[in-house]
């Protein structure tokens, strides 16, 4: 079984983790037009490649970002959201 490294709890079985989609910047609701907003809420990019994703270590509730290549399923690194020094 695949392993994933939680930034707080270290390497754990992938079955302990929950995926919550790609980290995507939200457009400003106050200024975006309907089309921009609809694109944000309804569309997701399925293009394979390196993505930043939300993952949660479910038993401990730690949310973090995983940099993962969705073409090869290789996890490059994991880090806490907005942690000092971590690029988003």
């Amino acid at each position: 079984m695949k392993l994933m490294t939680c930034p707080v709890n270290g390497p754990r079985l992938i079955s302990e983790f929950v995926y919550a989609g790609e980290l995507r910047p939200a457009p400003d609701p106050a200024t975006s037009d309907d089309d921009t907003w609809a694109d944000y809420v309804f569309n997701r990019s399925g293009v394979a490649g390196i993505k930043h994703e939300w993952w949660c270590h479910s038993p401990s509730g730690v949310w973090f970002i995983a940099e993962r290549d969705t073409a090869t399923d290789v996890i490059m690194r994991t880090f806490l959201y907005r942690a000092p020094g971590a690029a988003e």
Binding site: M1, K2, L3, I14, V18, A20, P29, S32, D34, W37, A38, Y40, V41, F42, W54, C56, S58, G61, W63, D73, Y81, R82
Partner: protein
């Protein structure tokens, strides 16, 4: 008897004889014998029938790399199918029969299929199944003819343990290179687990002796060093049967699967010897030379009396010497090659000295069967012309194929090396290493050196990088593999795949039909798709394929065998269900009161409480009646319960829910509606403010775990330092509801329950029956009611106390069904029942709970857009006269002029009102017309009247009931 005198290192215990039966005949053996070795010792030569043509078959690989010897075993009252005789130790008293025969292995009544071979072309199944008309006919026939062992469906359920192990370096294969790798890794400081499917370490070095009485001293020394090394643990009799992500390897033992997690893996599985392909190569008595050597040195069995060796390497000459030294007459060594190298030369001279005839440039023509269908004669051509030799055993030693199954599963690749005439390691994924025959190393010294390097690298890098270039074979070394040991015969029956009875012309025909790559060939012809997954057949098939296409093997690739690498009993793989059923703290109280259970999310909840002499509907109506007329108590402990605290808690809830909570007064509650970014309703609950910086709120039962997790993500994303605690399991919760609820509660608490002191929608912390509780005045069921939350450990006590206190008032516990009816009478929606995945907040008439003037909440932007547009659907109430035979049900459609205009979401006969009431999501224009045409299950349409909700107590007086009212 073919049993030899005792041999140094034999695996049998002659002190413990045993007997078992095979096909009705008593067979003797010793403890330590496998089924196959005992049969061979007893002179049994035909051990099975082939899959397709039912040809008699004997031992070929004696390593489980073919499935000629596959048995049905009756033992201990069980019938076990597909037991692999080559590797399964036999037990006394077993009753064994060959699978896939009709009437026994000796006189299989399906043997006539062999004569039909001409009419069973490659891809026969696909062709047969093409026509729809004949499909049932073929299906019946194939079902009767095919399949191997019989599954005993009456076998009792058996739970098989799963075990786990961990190590720094997992070395797979305990031959010379694996032993050497394990030792080097341990010396490098690694904790090593060495596994081998055989019962002893040493690999081929134990049996490929070249006539010597003992294995080489170097190997014995290596085995001793590994045994003495404290950092190496050795697991024998365990087959590493697959490779899964991040070095997760299931090791299959006789009793269980051991799931091993390693930091680095060394693949040292060696190679499986490959047969030569010629007419009659499947006759019993024709076997791999290594199989014969294993029979001799492990089990002291002479597989034949007079043999010829078909050789193309030094290993074949060594096997001939092994035969001679155990009294087996070697009629000839027939070498396919024209010249031999220095490794062969050493053995060749000894054989010539012993008077053995050695011929070069030999081409086998046909192996011919004698009595019982076993091999009796080999016809071959030599430079001198056509010859034949009388034998009862033919040993093939024409080459090897490294076991690449795990390597491929791990993501490694191989390339064909035309110097070694085999596939060799080309690339390895991080953290895996290969050594031994996989890299082209064949001599003992090469293997030991190669293993040492791999083990050292594995320990040093521990999976951090760990690629190591392959190709350890010294340039110009004598090759052990023949480039094309395939010899066509005009009459065919030259078998490439023994599992599936595939011949040379099957490959050729498949190519002709366009299935001319290894992947297509495999699927069309089923080459390599039998239980041995091509271990003895894929390489030769690829050789034929490449030749048909006029290409070299460098241009071809091996197919990936699937995990598991060897067949594994289903009971090893089967697991138990680990989805827990959650139960509230009051669960046992419900059981003693006759609760009929229903699932709710992960929970079980009482649907209603069964009563003698009452139907389900009557029992539910009585529960509804109790709440409306007196008082009822329901367990609502399955609700999600969350505490949010800190200076930002109110703002956090403002962003989470559509309503406003930052201005909620301490000691008050407010309904909360949650929508997603598209404005679709996803949850609702009650939010109570217990302190300036402390909120306590509920979510629906089914959503509680995922929502709580999402709260954490949102707090992280928004950068809001808000404390969140999931109290779902910590608190028991009840709803005490009904006109008499205040009186029942008053007897148990000092809290002032007057409407002035504890008004509708207020929240209080107080003691009830001496237990600290959180109380909220709620109105979900439309009566005066209190939701009481109490630490789980006091739940049962409080439940009992309240029921006791309410006895004189006619209190009754009520279940989920009664609650559903009570809320339906009030027109309250249930998220997920009266809404679906596209129902937005405006469509369920919840605009009152949506505060658009807040700075931000999830879904605000989308609801603002939706508010500009006409509603697509709306949730309305309807009524019907009760008693009609055609009662509509939930999800029945609403039809308007022949089109679907909506659907019923909730419906039931209201015990309070005496007629059918329901909710429907429907086109607003249709709802405005005041009549709904419901299409019931029978197809008939009946008309319902749209009515305003709530159906019961429209002004909400009951839930606001003051004391004394």
């Amino acid at each position: 008897m073919m049993r030899l005198p005792p041999i140094a290192g034999e695996w049998i215990d002659r002190a413990v004889p045993l007997t078992f039966s095979f096909e009705g005949h008593e067979v003797p053996g010793f403890r330590g014998d496998t089924i196959s070795s005992a049969l061979a010792a007893g002179g049994v030569r035909v051990v099975g029938r082939s899959f397709k043509y039912h040809r008699p078959r004997g031992l070929v690989s004696f390593a489980n790399h073919d499935v000629n010897a596959m048995m049905q075993v009756e033992a201990g009252g069980r019938s076990i199918p597909n037991v692999r005789a080559d590797v399964t130790p036999v037990e006394p008293g077993w009753r064994i029969t060959a699978v896939n025969t009709r009437g026994g292995v000796a006189n299989d009544r399906l043997a006539w299929l062999d004569r039909l071979a001409r009419f069973l072309p490659v891809g026969f199944y696909y062709k047969a199944f093409h026509g729809k008309r004949l499909f049932p006919h073929w299906e019946r026939m194939f079902r009767a003819l095919t399949g191997l062992g019989r599954v005993d469906t009456t076998a009792p359920l058996r739970a098989t343990a799963k075990r786990y192990d961990f190590c720094d370096v997992l070395v797979i294969g305990a031959g010379p290179s694996g032993l050497s790798a394990a030792l080097a890794a341990a010396e490098g400081g690694a904790d090593v687990l060495l596994v081998d499917e055989n019962g002893a370490a040493g690999g081929s070095a134990l049996y490929a002796r070249g006539g010597a009485t003992q294995p080489t001293a170097a190997v014995a020394a290596l085995i001793g060093s590994v045994a003495a090394e404290a950092r190496v643990r050795t697991l024998l009799g365990g087959c590493a049967a697959g490779y899964y992500a991040d070095h997760w390897v299931p090791v299959v033992t006789g009793e269980a699967i051991v799931k091993v997690r390693a930091r680095a893996v060394v693949l040292a599985q060696g190679a499986s010897e490959q047969p030569a392909v010629f007419r009659g190569n499947d006759l019993p008595g024709v076997m791999l030379a290594s199989a014969a050597q294993r029979l001799i040195y492990r089990y002291a069995v002479a597989p034949a009396r007079r043999i010829a060796v078909l050789a193309a390497n030094a290993e074949g000459y060594a096997a001939a010497l092994d035969a001679q030294s155990h009294g087996i007459d070697v009629a000839a060594v027939l070498d396919l090659r024209s010249t031999v190298g220095p490794r062969t030369q050493v053995y060749r001279e000894r054989l010539l000295q012993n008077g053995v005839r050695v011929l070069n440039c030999v081409r086998p023509v046909e192996a011919i069967g004698g009595a019982g269908g076993c091999v009796a004669r080999l016809e071959f051509t030599a430079p001198s012309g056509l010859e034949s030799v009388n034998i009862d055993g033919l040993w093939m030693s024409v080459g090897f194929a490294p076991l690449t199954g795990l390597l491929h599963q791990a993501g490694g690749t191989v390339r064909y090396d035309s110097g070694a005439e085999q596939f060799v390691l080309d690339s390895l994924p991080a953290g895996t290493y290969g050594c031994g025959k996989l890299t082209g190393a064949y001599t003992l010294a090469e293997c030991i050196e190669d293993g040492r390097e791999a083990g050292r690298a594995a320990a040093a890098e521990l999976g951090n990088s760990g690629r190591r270039e392959a190709g350890r074979r010294p340039a110009g070394a004598e090759c052990s593999n023949h480039a094309f040991p395939v010899f066509r015969h005009p009459k065919g029956k030259e078998f490439i795949d023994f599992d599936e009875d595939l011949q040379i012309r099957d490959v050729e025909n498949a190519c002709q039909e366009g299935f001319d790559s290894s992947e297509l060939l495999k699927r069309f012809s089923t080459m390599g798709m039998g239980p041995s997954q091509g271990k003895h057949s894929n390489l030769n098939a690829l050789r034929v394929l490449a030749r048909v296409r006029g290409e070299s093997l460098e241009q071809h690739s091996l197919t990936t065998s699937r995990p598991m690498f060897h067949p594994v009993p289903m009971s090893h793989l089967a697991g138990r269900g680990f989805v827990p059923e959650r139960r509230t703290p009051i669960d046992r109280e419900h059981a003693v009161r006759g609760a009929v259970w229903m699932p709710a999310g992960n929970w079980r909840r009482p649907e209603y409480y069964a009563r003698d002499g009452h139907t389900r509907a009557q029992a539910i109506a009585a529960e509804v009646g109790a709440v409306r007329g007196a008082v009822g108590l329901i367990d609502v402990g399955t609700l999600g319960k969350v505490e949010a605290f800190g200076p930002h808690a109110g703002e956090f809830l403002d962003r989470l829910y559509t309503g406003r909570f930052s201005n909620l007064k301490v000691g008050m509650t407010r309904y909360g509606l949650m929508v997603d970014e598209t404005g679709v309703v996803i949850d609702d609950g009650v939010i109570a403010r217990l302190g300036a910086e402390c909120f306590y709120f509920t979510t629906t039962t089914g959503n509680s775990a995922t929502l709580f997790r999402e709260f954490g993500r949102l707090a992280t994303w928004w950068g809001m330092p808000v404390g969140l605690v999931n109290l779902t399991g910590h608190f028991a919760a009840f709803n005490l509801a009904g006109p008499a609820s205040r009186a029942v509660l008053a007897a148990l608490t000092d809290l002032d329950l007057s409407d002035a002191a504890f008004p509708y929608l207020a929240a209080r912390e107080a003691h009830v029956a001496g237990i600290a509780c959180r109380l909220m005045r709620v109105g979900f069921v439309g009566e005066l009611g209190y939701e009481i939350h109490v630490p789980a450990e006091f739940g049962v006590e409080l439940w009992r106390v309240i029921l006791q206190a309410g006895q004189s008032s006619g209190i009754r516990p009520f279940g989920v069904e009664a609650q559903r009816m009570l809320r339906l009478e009030k027109g309250h929606l249930i998220v997920g029942q009266d809404t679906d995945g596209v129902t937005n907040a405006l469509e369920v008439d919840a605009a009152w709970a949506v505060k658009m003037d807040k700075p931000y909440f999830i879904g605000q932007r989308s609801l603002a857009t939706l508010a500009q547009r006409p509603l697509r659907q709306t949730l309305v109430g309807f009524r019907l006269a009760a008693g009609g035979a055609q009662r509509p049900r939930e999800s029945n459609l609403i039809i308007d002029g022949g089109r679907i205009a909506g659907r019923v979401t909730s419906i039931g006969v209201s015990p309070t009102l005496g007629h059918l009431i329901g909710l429907a999501l429907v086109d607003p224009a249709v709802a405005a017309a005041g009549k709904l045409s419901l299409r019931v299950d029978s197809g008939a349409q009946i008309t319902a009247e749209v009515v305003p909700t709530p159906f019961y107590d429209p002004l909400g007086e009951a839930q606001r009931r003051k004391e004394g009212a």
